[in-house]
């Protein structure tokens, strides 16, 4: 049985089931208890599981992520909410110098099964310190997995798998997706990390993206269809692990590729995809690989300016045409 629920509801359900099924799981974060989270993602969980499992913290991101690491190393499974991904930068030592490295530095003795749930991206006029797309930053560090779900179905299934991992997972939700609806089965399911999903089959061009840009790419595909261009949309779902095989396989069929992300273009993770594709599928390429990303400026507050800075459907359409030599730069 499936029904339509929102992305936020899907996360809430996943958390509910995880808390129900695993005694060692607890949630930690700012205003996630009584209040249910500023995006209402943890709504109702405090009442259901109590203040010992759904714990409000002081505004001490480094402190409580560090605490989560210590708890994870000693047998518990913390799922920490960092209200805005921008605030992970305050706690970056604990995430990247500590959590990401303990297993390796200890020769495999220490494991840190910790999930950091957070939300990123722009589109709401939240300004430069509340609109960033930092997935590529985390993906640069061996030792953490980085998950960026795009639909209610994916967000639930991927969160369940993330909590089952025995390592730190940065689970990046998108603020503009919380109210989007989609089909989610009532039955229990999970989605393994590191498997890209082809959200639309196509034969003329491969568009690679994740998170909110998947929907934008699907919308672009609709526009392109009107012009007789058949785009394949690959949702990477996670950057680490990276399912490059699915991308390569697709490019070998379409011979054209566009990479779309909301992160800044320069040094963005799109460049990694480009590099891998030219290396592994060079002979299959019939055109330049085009990247679509945010302009290289802090995200402006004004909604119109913000729109201009972030990738839009029209930018993806244009990029595809460039990749097909229909439009020349």
């Amino acid at each position: 049985m499936t029904r339509q629920i929102t992305y936020a509801e899907a996360i809430n359900e996943a958390l509910d089931e995880i808390l129900r099924d695993d005694e060692s799981v607890f949630l930690l974060g700012e205003d996630i208890g009584h209040y249910g989270g500023v995006f209402k993602v943890t709504k109702g969980l405090y009442d259901k599981f109590g203040g010992d499992r759904v714990i409000d913290t002081p505004i001490s991101e480094s402190g409580f992520i560090g605490l989560g690491i210590g708890a994870a190393m000693t047998g518990l499974k913390p799922v920490i909410e960092i209200m805005w991904i921008d605030f992970t930068l305050v706690a970056i030592d604990q995430i990247l110098n500590q959590a990401a490295k303990f297993s390796y530095m200890s020769g495999g003795q220490s494991k840190v099964p910790l999930v950091i749930r957070t939300q990123g991206g722009g589109g709401r006029g939240n300004g430069a310190q509340h609109s960033q797309s930092l997935e590529g930053l985390f993906a640069q560090f061996p030792g953490v997995k980085v998950v960026c779900p795009s639909t209610p179905y994916d967000v639930k299934g991927l969160l369940k798998s993330s909590v089952a991992e025995n390592c730190p997972v940065i689970f990046i939700e998108h603020k503009m997706l919380y109210n989007t609806k989609g089909e989610v089965p009532e039955e229990d399911y999970s989605i393994p990390l590191g498997k890209a999903d082809i959200k639309r089959k196509g034969s003329d061009v491969t568009i690679v993206s994740l998170s909110r840009m998947v929907q934008f790419s699907l919308n672009a595909a609709k526009e392109l269809e009107k012009e007789g261009i058949d785009a394949e949309i690959i949702d990477l779902r996670s950057l680490a692990p990276l399912d490059i095989e699915t991308v390569i396989e697709s490019v070998k069929r379409t011979n054209r590729i566009v990479v779309v992300h909301e992160a800044h273009t320069t040094f963005g993770w799109g460049a990694e995809i480009v590099s891998r594709v030219q290396q592994d599928a060079f002979d299959y390429l019939d055109g330049p690989i085009i990247r679509v990303g945010a302009e290289d400026v802090p995200i402006p507050y004004n909604l119109e300016l913000e729109k201009e800075v972030l990738p839009q459907v029209k930018d993806i359409v244009k990029a595809v045409k460039e990749a097909l030599y229909i439009e020349v730069k």
């Binding site: 210590g70 000693t74 220490s110």
Partner: protein
Amino acid sequence: MFNLEVSDPAKLLFSKDDSLRILEQLITIRKFEEKSIELYKSGLMGGSLHGYIGQEAVAVGVCSQLNKDDYLTVTYRSRGQAIAKGASIEKLFAEMMGKVDGYCKGKGGPMHITDLEIGFLGANGIVGAGIPIATGAAFSAKKKGTSQVSVTFFGDGATNQGVFHEALNLASIWKLPVVFVCENNLYSEMSPIADMVPNEHLAERALAYHIPAVIVDGNDVEAVCKVAQEAIERARNNGGPTFIEAKTYRQQGHMFGDAETYRTKEEVNEWKKKDPIQLFTNKQIELGYITDELVEQLSHEIELKVEKAYQFALNSEQPNYDEIFTDVF
């Protein structure tokens, strides 16, 4: 506001046998540290060597009061605590030499010694970073209802890190079974702590978080045992955290090769007169429990043990190149 806790010069705190065992531990650390200098000079280890000579009474005093399953996080200056908690000196030397028989298979090094078997959750190369992690282990113990206690060792300089303050506050509001042990050796790297903190006593900082704090002569091993015992008991009995400031001194540079231009020879010599091992040895001799000959014999036996461990490490193999890719997650 504070009294400096010292032991009773007229009598031993523990039985004759237990006192001798404590002396044995102190000497073991000293001999290990002396051998480590030889190791470093021989070019057999990488990085820097942060010595512990002069501070041994803090590690032994605290760790002698802990159970095997109590938790510990420490710093780069921490082979002393490891030995006091029951670590194998063979594996310590092997790790320092980067060998496969080392604690971390040669992948961690002296700054990242970990031994989960004895609750040694990891040494840390980032000043202050272990403090919230130990607080998290205490959180685990409390949540699981075990009577384990978590202890974190750090320097005077670490009390200027944000996570120190965040962790103290978390431990206090959640009444966690953690003991904060600040080894005030008067310097943070090459800077006198007096220039970096307005407080005369660092213990004052704990009072701001409503954490009971004591100041102890860190070169008086019995006094450290006593305050540690009280703190650990408080933690075990659900009485929450304690802060211990141990006033001590590192007799050598911050790391091997430190030019030590920031302090005078006279100052160092004054502190050498208060050498923790000498003080405790003299006390036992004066009270008639042991003799010079016995101490000499004990030292000799320990030296042989340390030499044997060193030889073991020398003969250990280099890690296989395959190890590069294991334990990342």
